[in-house]
Point group: C3
């Protein structure tokens, strides 16, 4: 299952039934869980002094798509799924079932919950905190320096079930509340209350999320999205969500 | 012409005079036209269940620059030219002479016409429709979900000769009319009339395109651009364009 | 120091103590300075007719991170440091100690000074001019075509010590003055005076940079940043900066 043109360190800890594609490098300080598939052209466990010797840990049943780079010192729960060309730096701790799309760039020292989904080409600054079931869409940037460049770094926080739409910037230290929605192309400079929609530059309150109706069913609110959108989540998770609304 | 360090499936159909660079993978379900050059570090025909078994077809006389990834199930006319690190997913159908710049990310199930040019780092959401002779500039995003995340996907449409300037977002279901111009850093939430300029967030009508004059010739309109900008188009195409204005 | 799975042209000029990783290509028309480290999966000296036969020159003590692509015809001073997946095209001339982050895309024919730092995922259009000690943050685009597409190309200029914050667009021919700050998510259509802050679309004057105070010390201005931010600069450079304020 390890391709003859892969370069795998004999010191790496590799689980059962792991597949590693051609032209992929696996460095020494790496632990890969069972049944994980790593595509071609990846670099797994990129060495970094900032990792303080911590290993890269990839949970079981993961899929790392081609050309991705994961640094030493980060930890991923089971069923990590990446797109292509993902870069994740050191000391980021991620829960189970994380999906991160093509070109995602996670800068390190971040905390990310369970069942989080990042679409293509997001940039997550150092020290960001992301809850569970969060969605972040393409070209979103989470920043951390209030007056760049400086030595101050204050990560943003995105709480459970929140969604940040495409091309938005979240400024340092801002908290996006539970279930909130940031409209496309916004700059969020202040905290966003739970279950509200904000938009613009700087982002302002637009309405409660419940006011947004489904395009194909104008009598039904599009939010909280967990009432109607279940694609790819396990039944047990969905059952837990629906209990809240029954 | 196939480098000794390329990994090419014996089942792939490869035309005459095809060149394949080192560290490139060509999967089985692939048809490559004559005289095509594929650089190093590419992955051609990335397998996907969503391709429904359809092959990747690359027209003759194409150039795929290094580190690009093309999925099974998409079809490209002759003279495809990519930049580096392009990703194009399954079931996208593209005309002739398509140029897509470095870091372009085309999400699949899109329809793209002839002589289309995408500059670097565009993100084209699933089900987008792009006409002929269209220009899309860096960091433009074509979206498809009106209330993300949801199961509804309504692609945007960009008609012939339209240009979408850098860092703009086109919202789901919007049509950018023939020859229209979207100014940089806009969010387009409503249809744009042909030969008009829109800008801002949300984008509003600014003027007709004919009001914009060439910087180096203030007596001449910069639009329709096909009257004066011909670089890289074949003479026969340009002759057809100019007939309209004679 | 050259990995057995690297493909290095015997015609390349390679200094002493140079390290070249697996799956990296070094083309013929390349000069690499002493003590430089090139990671895996890179393409160094990508051939281009637009380079007019000029070599790629990489100064001594440089670090090129994995998956990066540098074209023929560009020149870099000592201590170049790149992130991953950087693309730099032909005829760009760069001073010493340049740092360019992951996914940076420099389009060629640019001039970049000494000690410049680009964060991740910047797009620098052809003919841009960047001074010394400049900072450019993620998803910033420097454009050059006033009415795209056209044959006119007028690069933007960013003067010494200026900082352009994330997701901003600098329009063609604009000059960002010395020590100025462009706020996040701005479109800069007019010249920016030295030591001022601009923001918005289109960007307007907001205040002088001296009005912005450090988050952790409200009695101290955050700008000029060179008074307090010295991370990674040599002592001799910092001493020179501080002389101005003593």
């Amino acid at each position: 299952m390890i391709h003859i043109l892969a370069a795998v360190s004999p010191e790496a800890t590799i689980g059962k039934n792991v597949s590693i594609g051609p032209f992929t490098i696996v460095h020494a300080n790496v632990v890969i869980g069972d049944n994980t598939k790593i595509d071609s052209h990846c670099e797994i466990g990129y060495p970094s002094a900032l990792a303080d010797g911590l290993p890269l840990v990839i949970g079981a049943n993961s899929l790392i798509r081609s050309h991705s780079i994961l640094y030493e010192g980060s930890t991923f729960g089971e069923r990590l799924t990446t797109g292509h060309r993902v870069t994740i730096r050191e000391k980021t701790v991620v829960g189970i079932n994380f999906q991160v799309g093509t070109l995602g760039d996670i800068q390190g020292s971040c905390t990310i919950g369970d069942y989080v989904r990042f679409h293509s080409n997001v940039h997550i600054g150092q020290k960001s905190t992301v809850g569970n079931y969060v969605w972040i869409f393409p070209y979103v940037v989470l920043t951390n320096d209030p007056h760049p460049p400086s030595d101050i770094s204050i990560g943003a926080t995105v709480e459970d079930f929140a969604a940040v739409a495409t091309m938005s910037v979240v400024l340092p230290g801002v908290t996006i509340g539970k279930g909130a929605l940031v409209a496309a192309h916004s700059s969020v400079a202040r905290d966003v209350a739970p279950d509200t929609v904000v938009g613009g530059t700087p982002a302002k309150y637009l309405c409660d999320t419940s006011k947004i109706k489904l395009k194909n069913d104008p009598d039904t609110s599009a939010y909280p999205w967990r009432k109607h959108f279940h694609r790819g989540y396990p039944e047990s998770v969905v059952a837990e969500w629906l209990k809240e609304f029954s």
